[in-house]
């Protein structure tokens, strides 16, 4: 492989989660401003992670730590696969494995809120994985599963599919109305309850990797021959998606787990189905 391209890929895998961390900081800042407060510095997520890393570890069970690490590594592997242009479907499944590791970590600590959080996280997976799966398959259908081969036309052909990603992002970003698994006022922070210090930091970074992958999927929808336009467009698209979730977060209460699953499945599947149907009618083939 071209050494430069390789180096670039490695760099992307390292930088992408950092960008997501920054986006999380912006998210908190924008959220605060929408609530008419000042909000934290934009670099806050990094301070948080740094702080957590410096705390004394505390655990209920060894497996918690193992699964936290596994979640991080799987999400990182997913991102690496994504960046290296390999199969999107495989990437998606690897990333899903990372999510499952979080669930197992939550279960391996026998503690009431952690356990309920694990159950709810599973339901969240039930809610968003099918939608993500459909998005991936739609992309594969229109273009290719190989990330490296995906080119333009997606935004034009699959606008509703892109829209279906927004509720998925709402779940992944733990925002209302679908922050059911981590519901602060109900189960404190769900699967994360028993995580503290460095292990929580690991999970947080894992989440950045996961989000980097999902936002990466959002960016796939924009493509242009010109590298500069392409990158600018991709970033704009990702930011637009983030902004949409923030607005939704600030204008809604948390719904229940039943609401979450049914809404996600009906809306997500519906959007993808309508999109494919229209495409089929317009183009005669999918």
């Amino acid at each position: 492989m071209d050494l430069l391209a390789y180096a670039l890929q490695v760099l992307t895998v390292i930088v992408a989660p950092l960008v997501v961390g920054l986006a999380m900081g912006m998210d908190r800042k924008i959220t605060a401003r929408m609530q008419n407060r000042r909000g934290p510095p934009v670099l806050q997520p990094f301070y948080d992670v740094g702080k957590l890393l410096s705390k004394r570890p505390m655990l209920l069970s060894e497996l918690q730590a193992t699964f936290a690490g596994a979640a991080l590594l799987f999400h990182a592997a997913a991102l690496a696969l994504f960046v290296s242009g390999s199969d999107l479907l495989v990437t998606f499944f690897v990333s899903g494995t990372g999510s499952v590791c979080l669930v197992m970590g939550a279960f391996s600590a026998r503690s009431p809120y952690s356990f309920i959080g694990g159950q709810r996280e599973l339901l969240a997976i039930l809610a968003y994985e099918p939608v993500l799966f459909l998005v991936v398959l739609s992309i594969g259908m229109r273009s290719s599963f190989l990330v490296g081969d995906i080119q333009g036309g997606l935004l034009h052909d699959l606008p509703l599919v892109l829209l279906a990603l927004v509720p998925v992002l709402v779940v992944l970003l733990e925002k209302s109305p679908f922050d059911v698994p981590t519901a602060h006022q109900e189960i404190i922070s769900g699967p994360y309850v028993e995580y503290s210090g460095p292990y929580l930091a690991i999970l947080e970074v894992a989440r950045w990797f996961q989000l980097a992958f999902v936002f990466g999927m959002v960016t796939l929808f924009f493509w242009s021959g010109d590298a500069v336009i392409s990158i600018a467009g991709k970033l704009a698209l990702a930011f637009a998606a983030l902004f949409a979730t923030i607005v939704i977060d600030n204008a809604s209460a948390r719904l229940t787990r039943e609401n979450m699953v049914s809404f996600m499945l009906i809306a997500g599947i519906g959007l993808v189905a309508i999109n494919l149907l229209v495409l089929f009618i317009l183009k005669g083939s999918i």
Partner: protein, 151 residues
């Protein structure tokens, strides 16, 4: 020169609030801290409501006999390094409830306290002062540790 670690720590104090039998006055002021007017998220603070993820315990109330064990539990579940801030007169000395038979009279009767906040109720501004004081205590500690490490 402070280590990066302690810098981060000062910028990200996550709090947990526990009411050990207060009159609610100070609790409301703790909540006021989180809301637009005082917004301690400015300082990177976040209400985690979970001892395992907290750095700073904001304790209100004179610690009733029944809350004693719970307070101790929560304290033990908070990983080091941690700060305990006794919010309000009753958490500091139990004063308003000094005639009550069922109180311990202050958080420091049960767990070590780092910062005592006067006031009944303690105004949000005072709580912010307390936070700053607590963090500077951390900073000093960190600086001391650095010096030791150098020396």
């Amino acid at each position: 020169m402070m280590t990066l670690e302690s810098k981060m720590r000062i910028r990200s104090p996550w709090i947990m609030h526990f009411d050990t039998g207060s009159c609610n006055g100070c609790d409301m002021e703790v909540w006021a801290l989180l809301t637009p007017r005082y917004d301690i998220e400015r300082f990177g603070a976040m209400n985690r409501a979970n001892p395992k993820q907290a750095d700073i315990l904001l304790i209100t109330g004179p610690v009733t006999k029944r809350c004693e064990d719970r307070l101790r539990n929560l304290y033990e579940q908070t990983p080091e390094p941690k700060l305990v801030i006794a919010c309000g007169d009753c958490a500091s000395t139990g004063a308003p409830f000094h005639n009550c038979y069922n109180v311990n009279g202050g958080v420091d009767k049960v767990i070590p306290v780092d910062v005592y906040v006067p006031g009944c109720a303690c105004r949000p501004e005072v709580l912010i002062d307390a936070l700053v004081l607590g963090l500077s205590k951390w900073r000093e500690k960190a600086a001391g540790a650095d010096k030791e490490a150098e020396g």
